[in-house]
């Protein structure tokens, strides 16, 4: 094992027997089989490979994101690394003290108070009693639950439990931290704390393996990402590239803008949109559209006859149907003398698509700019905007934060007495 590596994994595989649980649990079944004779062949069971031939090494201090679809084997990998379950074949070498956080608040007991659960949970996560005592006040403060600390947690809301559990976890001091999707839960405030704590870990030089579906967080926190697909390591490399590849695999399933929806289309039909392409600024087909990227919308049409002074309009809607903005050649002061007959296209280029990630709708229409004639209208495509780190924030931007994100800069005048707040990182104040 190389001295600089925290984790080395060699051709790791894990298989499960399908139906094995149900079959062997009943003692009676086993006895019946024994009576029938030991020579009878056991029923053939189907093997499912949760992980297959995975190899990688993680240098000390690297923060690695693990991405992949649900059921791809990410959690199984973390469970094997945490020694919860054993691999079917392959080898793992881990150097250093491992703490794994597959769930927030593992081992919390309903009947115990917040205080008691801090001790219990800390100890289950591998903290020493004296470490828990040393950090106790900081944990309570971090959780923001000091007034409830002597209340049994069965009276806690799920959000309070989460905060308490995360407060304990944030004070772990392992060499290697293994974190499953914990950022997906909780409200915006909680997620903010999580990210801040993860940022603190990164700067603390710890080795972190971190499963998440929050691509912005992975891109920001991790220098490297692993993409696990159907139990195999599909891609390993720079976080940005791996995320692109991963999101691209989704896009090929159901690509934004691929399907022009024409039900309910109106207009007289002299001009019809035939298809719409969503391209990146250099004109290549873009499998995914990330927040903050440039976008080119290419509208193909067929004109049945020669028409004068057409105007093309693109309107952007939220998934709730609110009009966000309208762009049209007429509004832009552009005059198109005529088009057709035959096929052609027009392009709309958007400099930066500053949309909060989510699903949007684009509708297209073409009409005469000189007469009240609408040739085609109400044809739609949907537009999936994926998260990105374009804004330099690891916060998961989502619909809670509105619809658009303006590129922005903040200025906070420095105050002498606050020049070096000790709990800066924990509070996430920057």
């Amino acid at each position: 094992m190389s001295a600089a590596n925290s984790i080395e994994i060699q051709s790791l595989s894990k298989s499960y027997l399908l139906g094995a649980k149900e079959r062997s649990r009943q003692l009676r079944e086993q006895l019946v089989r024994l009576l029938r004779g030991p020579f009878r062949a056991r029923p053939e069971r189907e093997t499912i490979w949760a992980l297959r031939d995975i190899s990688f090494a993680v240098p000390e201090g690297q923060v690695v994101g693990i991405i992949g679809r649900n059921g791809a084997g990410k959690s199984t990998l973390l469970k094997i690394l945490s020694r919860i379950t054993h691999p079917t074949s392959g080898s793992i070498r881990v150097r250093g003290r491992v703490a794994s956080l597959l769930e927030v608040g593992t081992g919390f007991h309903e009947e115990l108070t917040g205080r008691e659960n801090i001790y219990l949970n800390g100890s289950i996560l591998g903290m020493r009693r004296r470490d828990i005592e040393r950090h106790f006040d900081a944990i309570v403060e971090f959780s923001g639950l000091s007034q409830f600390i002597d209340t049994p947690i069965k009276r806690f809301s799920s959000g309070m439990r989460l905060r308490l559990g995360f407060a304990v976890a944030a004070h772990l001091e392992p060499d290697i931290l293994i974190v499953d999707e914990v950022l997906a839960v909780g409200d915006a405030g909680f997620q903010k704390k999580c990210i801040s704590a993860m940022e603190g870990l990164r700067s603390g030089g710890r080795t972190v393996l971190f499963v998440s579906h929050n691509m912005a967080a992975v891109e920001n926190l991790c220098s490297r990402a692993l993409w696990i697909d159907s139990g195999q390591l599909r891609m390993d490399g720079n976080a940005k590239d791996v995320i692109k590849g991963y999101l691209g695999s989704y896009a090929s399933d159901e690509q934004s803008g691929q399907q022009l929806q024409v039900e309910g289309r109106t207009g007289t039909g002299e001009v019809r949109f035939t298809s719409v392409e969503l391209l990146n600024p250099d004109g290549a087909a873009s499998p995914i559209i990330q927040s903050g990227d440039g976008l080119v919308v290419r509208m193909h049409y067929r004109a049945e006859r020669y028409v004068h002074h057409p105007s093309f309009t693109v309107r952007l809607f939220t998934s709730m149907g609110t009009l966000i903005t309208e762009a049209s050649t007429w509004l832009h002061g552009l005059t198109i003398p005529s088009i057709g007959p035959g096929e052609g296209y027009v392009e709309l280029e958007i400099g930066a698509l500053n949309l909060i990630p989510g699903r949007y709708g684009l509708t297209f229409s073409v009409n005469s700019s000189t007469e009240a004639r609408v040739w085609d209208a109400d044809v739609r495509v949907f537009l999936d905007v994926e998260p990105s780190a374009a804004y330099g924030t690891a916060r998961a931007l989502n619909s809670r934060f509105g619809i658009v994100y303006f590129p922005q800069r903040w200025k906070i005048p420095a105050r002498e007495e606050e020049s070096a707040p000790a709990n800066d990182r924990q509070c996430g104040v920057r």
């Binding site: 490979w49 054993h86 079917t88 003290r97 081992g107 219990l120 591998g126």
Partner: protein, 290 residues
């Protein structure tokens, strides 16, 4: 996906290497001897036992009094039923003491065995989310039960004062007997706990088996009541010689039966190691099949 490729059939190797940077890293040293793990995770053991104790009497009116009520009322029933009505002999020991001194270890063993056998399954959320030596769960049950045993023992001292029986030298044997009792309960408890992960039949079998076990253990009768040639056979029951010794250590009304205690001690130790091997062998798959 179906596969039988031989490349995947090799034995897995999992090794965890730790540099000598900090003593805390001992947790992941290559050899995971049971004793070594018990030592590094002893704080967790105490925390789990502490949790069991804390939770046991939480939101109860009588609290820790329950630790006394169970043996006390059982003793009262036994004294009336088996002592007065059935007139079973008690080796000349006052009947309350005769029953109570045997009930304390018996209730410890039966309570520990039944809750330890459930300890893995009822903590399945822990087993599937975090690593720690799995043996901690039944071990914590065995440890926390000692508190009830201790509270009961204090009451027993009260009986001695009431009947003004002097406490003899046999009392020195008491700590050794407590250790044997704990080991015995843990052995059976962890074996059943591991079995329960695989076969939930254990849940139904245990209460019933404990009932039957009581009848082959000298709790409601003295061993002297059993024909001489069967006495040693009875001591093969690891609880048999042990409970008889508990009584003799307190009230030396009859000579100490070292042979019976010896037989029980041997079966206890053998049983403990057999249970340990079984537990360690099945432990790897707990998280997958629970």
């Amino acid at each position: 996906m179906r596969d039988a490729s031989p490349a995947y059939r090799e034995t897995p190797r999992v090794s965890v290497v730790s540099p000598m940077r900090s003593p805390a890293l001992d947790d992941h040293v290559q050899s995971h001897g049971v004793l070594h793990e018990l030592r590094t995770y002893r704080e967790l053991l105490f925390f789990l036992a502490w949790r069991d104790v804390k939770v046991r009497y939480r939101q109860t009116l009588l609290g820790v009094l329950w630790a006394v009520i169970q043996p006390l009322f059982t003793m009262a029933v036994f004294t009336i039923l088996f002592g007065r009505l059935a007139n079973l002999p008690s080796d000349g020991v006052p009947r309350p003491i005769f029953y109570f001194s045997a009930l304390l270890p018996w209730l410890y063993i039966s309570n520990t065995v039944s809750s330890a056998s459930m300890s893995l399954v009822s903590n399945s959320n822990l087993l599937t989310k975090i690593y720690f030596p799995r043996i901690m769960l039944p071990a914590a049950v065995a440890l926390s039960g000692l508190l009830d045993f201790l509270v009961g023992s204090v009451l027993l001292v009260g009986f001695f004062v009431y009947y003004s029986i002097p406490l003899g030298w046999g009392l020195l044997l008491w700590p050794a007997l407590v250790i044997q009792m704990t080991v015995l309960a843990l052995a059976i408890g962890m074996f059943l706990a591991a079995l329960n992960v695989q076969y939930r039949d254990v849940k139904y079998a245990v209460p019933f088996a404990i009932q039957l076990w009581l009848f082959v253990t000298p709790v409601i009768y003295p061993t002297s009541m059993v024909p001489e040639r069967f006495q040693r056979l009875l001591a093969l029951n690891p609880a048999g010689g042990l409970i008889e010794a508990f009584r003799h250590a307190l009230v030396p009304s009859a000579p100490m039966r070292w042979d019976l205690l010896g037989i029980s001690a041997i079966t206890t130790v053998l049983g403990f190691f057999a249970a340990l091997v079984f537990f360690k062998k099945t432990e790897r798959a707990f998280a997958d099949i629970i």
